[in-house]
């Protein structure tokens, strides 16, 4: 899933890019209104994080032009002023959500996951992809959630991809490199520790007992496997 981040502050732009990449999104960056419109035309993103106060062309105008081309495009507005958000809501520009500065990582993640769910819901994914079982864990990719009994577990796009890959190749040992390529994308370069650490964090959420895992089992020297 590709996200266009349009923000004139470099640090915020790069920070958002990092958060989104960690979640498993492909990120395209733009620093002003003009380059945002160019990137939108060239990259065809799945949704856009759009700062309102941008040089050259304002976020409102960028939103209008993008919506003219793609009326269903999800847009998350970013702003430092509540008044601007009021305007976004008041003008009915069709903001799917908004984030007011100063924001934290978790807030951004929650908003982006919510929009991703809506993207999936409107994309009309096949029913088969709507859910699968990994033991007593039921995974719902379209919701970015898993359920074990009454417990609801919030998952990132990347978490879903890893679980889905393991489920699709259940019984097979998947190499770390394969998991990288499929779940991080070829452009994402990282140490093997990144994957292991991610799996460790994921286990804490999806395993009943992370010390003796049933969903993501370690295959020493190779990678990981779901036994099915």
């Amino acid at each position: 899933m590709k996200v266009l981040v349009a923000e004139d502050d470099r640090l915020i732009r790069e920070g958002l890019a990092e958060i989104l990449s960690r979640e498993g999104y492909t990120v395209v960056l733009a620093e002003d209104g003009e380059s945002t419109l160019e990137a939108f035309a060239a990259e065809c993103p799945d949704f856009v994080c759009l700062d309102i106060m941008m040089p050259k062309v304002s976020g409102y105008e960028v939103c209008r032009r993008m919506r003219a081309a793609r009326p269903q495009l999800p847009v998350i507005f970013i702003s430092a002023k509540s008044e601007e958000i009021d305007k976004v809501v008041g003008l009915e520009l069709g903001a799917d959500d908004y984030i007011v500065k100063p924001f934290g990582v978790k807030e951004v993640i929650a908003r982006i996951r919510a929009v991703t769910r809506r993207c999936y819901a409107t994309a009309g994914e096949p029913a088969a992809k709507s859910g699968f079982r990994m033991g007593d864990l039921e995974v719902f990719p379209l919701e970015l959630r898993a359920r074990r009994g009454e417990t609801v577990i919030e998952l990132s796009l990347r978490d879903i991809r890893i679980l889905q890959l393991l489920w699709e190749h259940r019984g097979e040992a998947l190499e770390r490199r394969t998991i990288y390529e499929r779940c991080w994308g070829a452009t994402y370069l990282s140490s093997s520790r990144t994957l292991d650490q991610h799996i460790s964090q994921l286990r804490k959420r999806v395993e009943v007992s992370p010390g003796s895992p049933n969903v993501i089992c370690t295959v020493h020297g190779v990678g990981y496997r779901f036994d099915g």
């Binding site: 990092e18 958060i19 509540s82 007011v100 100063p102």
Partner: protein, 531 residues
């Protein structure tokens, strides 16, 4: 602007109300003053008329004395009486009655001249009563016997008859020559109405008129010329036998209006001076108030500006600190180690700063009347969980145990930012003031259309008398410098936001600690309500 209009009205009330009261009281006082002045003037006029009446009284007293002497000398035979009548120009006719009341002159049975016949025709009824002496006024009892006046109207008007019972029992009467006695009356009256002496210059132009019973002027004197048909300012009946006549006083109407005008002038001066003083004081207060409002607005605007400027760097500090925390977690750095501990402090403090800025901006928006709700579908319990998670490390470090009783799991229309800000302020208070209780309990509950969230701590609590005070802006319950720092607007904002969200925030009585009860309107989402 609403505040300014209210104070504008207040300003005019402060200026106009005392002015109106002073003017009303002054008007009443001036009216009374004018009434008194009129009364004094009327009394003065009365005195002037009484003076004239006294002149008439003296004149008639003198006349009576002359007539007494005349009647004493009246003979018995008709001829001597007729001679007397002819010789005295004052007398029109005389009559004599015996002690038994028999009219002996002019004798109706004897030979009468024309004048006597006319007299009997005009005044014959006088002699029908045997107990004559007759008087229409008070009969005077002198040493020479009883005497008195009889007034009769015939001919051109009033006729005066003086009669007297002599020591012998005879009654002698005199009909005065009308033209003569009127001329004498006129002669004794003054030629000018102005008082003599030093008051003459200051007195008003006036006229005194003596009118008969038909209202015809007999005589008038004084410099003032009243217009035709104008009413007299004062009126007095002259003494008997002229009591059917009137003495009337005329003067310029404006003269009375002038009386007491000084009081109105004084009142006007007082009202004008007070009004001017109040206006100046009001203008000064108004200007002072505006200056303070402008300064406050500038301060709020400055705080607003600064807060906005702080937002971007603060976003970066918070975001990168949280990313670094995530990096360290991924790198397997010991969560209880110093680097992770230090980083937690940065994250928490940046969150605290975010709350402070949020409160300042919300306060500024509330002051400008720009607070708006932005509701969207959400699960309130999830919002509470996010806030509790955010406060988890800070409360944990103070060994405050957090208990969350979930009861608001329905998807409702709610302003997530508002709920987060209210709860953030309540939990921030727990962190600052109630950490000693070592426990905070958050319980949510949903009823039809509303969500209630109770935040109860086990700290020192709030004395009952301060339960409302804590919600006022800039109120701190303790001035102790060792107290935790704060802006003093957190709870005020929390209540404002709760009310904006169709509910309220109150501090409920509690045996131990503080118990805040938040209630907000949260309509069910349409998709859920239908389910």
């Amino acid at each position: 602007m609403a505040l300014t209009r209210k104070h504008g009205i207040l300003f005019w009330l402060i200026v106009c109300l005392p002015l109106a009261v002073i003017a009303a009281l002054g008007w009443r006082l001036a009216r009374e003053e004018q009434g008194l002045a009129r009364q004094r003037l009327r009394a003065l006029l009365g005195v002037r008329l009484q003076d004239a009446a006294l002149v008439l009284e003296n004149h008639f007293d003198e006349l009576e004395r002359g007539l007494d002497a005349l009647t004493e000398s009246v003979g018995h035979d008709a001829e001597s009486i007729r001679r007397l009548v002819r010789s005295d120009p004052r007398i029109a006719q005389m009559f004599v009655l015996e002690a038994d009341g028999t009219l002996v002159h002019p004798d109706p049975r004897g030979a009468l001249n024309d004048a006597e016949r006319r007299f009997l025709a005009d005044a014959g009824d006088l002699f029908l009563h045997r107990d004559f002496i007759r008087t229409d006024g008070d009969a005077s009892e002198g040493p020479a016997g009883r005497s008195g006046w009889v007034v009769r109207f015939w001919g051109p008007g009033l006729n005066l008859i003086y009669n007297r019972r002599l020591a012998s029992g005879r009654v002698v009467g005199v009909l005065l020559q009308r033209a003569r006695w009127i001329a004498e009356v006129i002669a004794v009256l003054p030629a000018t109405a102005e008082p003599p002496g030093p008051d003459r210059e200051r007195s008003l132009p006036s006229r005194i008129r003596l009118v008969d019973s038909h209202g015809q002027s007999i005589y008038e004197w004084g410099a003032f010329a009243p217009t035709e048909g104008s009413a007299a300012l004062e009126e007095l009946a002259p003494p008997f036998p002229l009591s059917s006549w009137r003495l009337q006083y005329f003067a310029d109407d404006a003269a009375l209006a002038v009386a007491g005008r000084g009081a109105y002038f004084n009142l006007l001066s007082l009202v004008a001076a007070t009004g001017l003083a109040l206006l100046m004081a009001g203008a000064w207060f108004f200007r002072e108030y505006h200056r303070q409002v402008r300064e406050a607005m500038e301060r709020v605007s400055f705080a607003n500006q600064v807060s906005h400027e702080l937002k971007t760097p603060l976003t970066n500090i918070r975001m990168y600190a949280e990313l670094l925390e995530s990096d360290l977690e991924e790198a397997g750095v010991d969560p209880s180690g110093r680097p992770r501990g230090h980083l937690k402090v940065i994250v928490e403090e940046s969150q605290r700063l975010s709350r402070l800025i949020g409160n300042v901006l919300t306060f500024a928006r509330e002051q400008r009347g720009q607070l708006r709700l932005r509701v969207r579908p959400a699960v309130v319990d999830n919002v509470i969980a996010v806030v509790l998670e955010r406060f988890g490390p800070a409360l944990g470090r103070r060994q405050v145990e957090v208990a969350f009783g979930r009861g608001a799991g329905a998807r409702v229309e709610v302003d997530v930012d508002v709920v987060e800000q209210i709860l953030g302020n309540l939990l921030s208070n727990v962190e600052k003031y109630a950490a000693s209780g070592k426990r905070v309990e958050v319980v949510s509950r949903q009823t039809k259309g509303h969500t209630e969230i109770t935040v109860r701590d086990a700290g020192p609590g709030v004395p009952p008398r301060h339960r409302e005070r804590v919600f006022r802006p800039f109120q701190r319950l303790s001035d102790d410098i060792s107290e935790s720092p704060g802006t003093g607007i957190g709870l005020s904002i929390a209540r404002q936001l709760a009310r904006l969200h169709g509910g309220d925030l109150r501090l409920a009585p509690s045996e131990r600690g503080a118990r805040f009860e938040l209630r907000i309107a949260t309509p069910r989402c349409e998709s859920e309500a239908g389910a």
